[in-house]
């Protein structure tokens, strides 16, 4: 079995992993089977990222890996060695909430709050995807370039369908995102 020297080498069933989390290099020793989610919560005590289903079905564990939204429950910490990770704890700048965090408060985009960090991490990256011209299943003609002005509420709902909210705050979540798009 081949192993490269670029990291992730197996040693006594434990892997040395270095992750850049919210701009800071973090080293940890993890068993290969540790998910990125468990590494964040249990090893690094960044408990803002939530464990909902642990099966890639609810979106509560959404983080950004190299700037893209991803489910931290469905990847191994050791597979992300050397990668840049952003969690909800890293979203604010200069003690100011991220505009989407502020919009969730303004629009009452949550009740119990359990899904909220995943919703916000997903929403922030989703706005970037729309800005980059990515289409969605709600896009009528994918062969045409997509622009931010095409980001209707139906588009937002479709693009956010990977984040479940059992309090059903969906209308307010959509409003918060639509408002944040206008502001950014």
């Amino acid at each position: 079995m081949s192993e490269s020297s670029s990291g992730g080498d197996l040693r006594d069933g434990v892997v040395e992993v270095t992750l850049t989390i919210n701009g800071r290099a973090c080293k940890l020793a993890a068993e290969p089977r540790m998910t990125l989610l468990d590494a964040l919560r249990e090893e690094l005590l960044l408990t803002g990222t939530k464990k909902g289903c642990d099966r890639g079905e609810c979106g509560a564990c959404t983080v950004h890996i190299e700037g893209r939204r991803a489910l931290s429950c469905m990847t191994l910490a050791a597979m992300q060695d050397g990668k840049r990770i952003t969690t909800i704890e890293g979203l604010q700048r200069d003690d100011m909430l991220h505009p989407l965090q502020a919009a969730f408060i303004e629009h009452d985009g949550f009740q119990c709050g359990f899904c909220t960090s995943g919703q916000i991490m997903s929403g922030v990256a989703m706005i970037d995807e729309a800005k980059a011209g990515w289409p969605s299943a709600a896009t009528v003609d994918v062969a045409k370039p997509f622009t931010l002005s095409d980001l209707s509420n139906a588009e937002i709902r479709e693009r956010m369908s990977g984040n479940l909210c059992r309090c059903a705050c969906y209308p307010n979540i959509v409003d918060a995102i639509a408002n944040a798009v206008g502001r950014s």
């Binding site: 490269s4 089977r33 893209r68 991803a70 989703m126 062969a143």
Partner: protein
């Protein structure tokens, strides 16, 4: 999850050799299906080999002849966002966008998408009821159990599961080619031959063996490519597997169909191509729904629905008609 080791490599020959020599090695790329299987104890590999570092496998190339070559490590979201994919084969972009969620599409690779295993609830159940796919010889719980989501074509008494991939349906309709590298070198597999029917060995989803790695999917230029559409029917409007889905692509002369390509998902152990319908559709005007329906029905004469999924026959016929008409309107 059970304990396992993890290593990575940037050498494709070593990766293939490791997989060929050791039956306990599993390749991992996005991991979105494999880790789910491991959490459900439906896959228990002792050694994972992370192939994300293999060079040159993530490229999406628009070929000069009008085709595409999609590297196996390209992510679903990247392929769906690619402007040339969207212009040349809307059906491919749409099939990807109708699958999974934004987060999962950023993670899941095209190669892994083709390798994903069935969503049959008996197969995924961590209490492990009889399932020939999970434990060969143990029986099929779905054959006489709850089989609303299961196959209406090509099933056997050993297995009635369906293949869950959306993009595979588009690739099948377009007669894509799967490029595979193995111990003996490179080979090309025509897409419709890549996945298999269950027969008496449902534990094998496709024709790959140990040491085989999907390296790319090639989509040849097709006259029907631009006027194509993916229609997915499901219990929820988003973030759900298909009850039935249709990939349709059509070339039109005036208002008459010159050639049509149709494949159906959610109905068999592999994407199900509607060959008889494709022949019968030639020359039919796109606005004659009754004639189109009759042509499509020819591919359903041999449908064999199970106790709880009889509705899929009519649903698939109607979905095929609608997909064909939407595709045709894109000419």
């Amino acid at each position: 999850m059970h304990p396992f080791s993890l290593s990575r490599t940037d050498d494709i020959a070593k990766a293939i050799a490791a997989h060929a020599m050791d039956g306990q090695v599993a390749f991992i790329a996005g991991g979105t299906d494999l880790l789910g299987l491991m959490k459900d104890r439906a896959a228990l590999p002792e050694r994972l080999l992370d192939i994300n570092g293999l060079p040159d496998l993530a490229r999406i190339e628009a070929l000069p002849n009008g085709g595409l070559r999609i590297g196996a490590l390209a992510r679903m979201s990247e392929v769906a966002a690619d402007m040339e994919v969207r212009r040349r084969f809307p059906v491919i972009a749409e099939s990807l966008l109708f699958a999974a969620s934004g987060q999962l599409r950023n993670m899941a690779s095209i190669g892994g998408n083709l390798m994903q295993r069935t969503r049959c609830a008996y197969f995924r159940d961590d209490d492990a009821p009889p399932c020939n796919k999970r434990r060969p010889g143990s029986g099929c719980s779905a054959r006489h159990g709850l089989n609303r989501n299961h196959a209406i074509f090509g099933w056997s008494d050993a297995c009635v599961a369906t293949n869950p991939s959306d993009v595979a349906v588009a690739f099948a309709a377009l007669d894509a080619i799967v490029h595979v590298r193995g111990l003996a070198g490179d080979r090309s597999i025509s897409f419709v031959d890549f996945h298999r029917l269950p027969d008496s060995t449902p534990e094998r989803d496709n024709v790959l063996g140990r040491g085989d790695l999907v390296v790319a999917v090639e989509v040849p230029a097709r006259v029907e490519g631009c006027a194509s559409h993916y229609l997915k029917v499901r219990d929820r409007e988003s973030y759900e597997f298909a009850l039935v889905s249709v990939a349709a692509a059509v070339a039109v002369d005036g208002k008459h169909i010159r050639s049509a390509r149709l494949a159906v998902g959610g109905v068999a152990h592999k994407p199900w191509r509607l060959a008889a319908a494709e022949s019968a559709l030639r020359g039919v005007p796109l606005d004659e729904a009754v004639t189109l329906s009759a042509a499509i029905a020819q591919s359903f004469a041999d449908a064999g629905p199970l106790a709880h999924n009889g509705f899929k026959v009519e649903l698939a016929k109607r979905a095929a008609l609608r997909a064909l008409q939407i595709a045709g309107a894109r000419k």
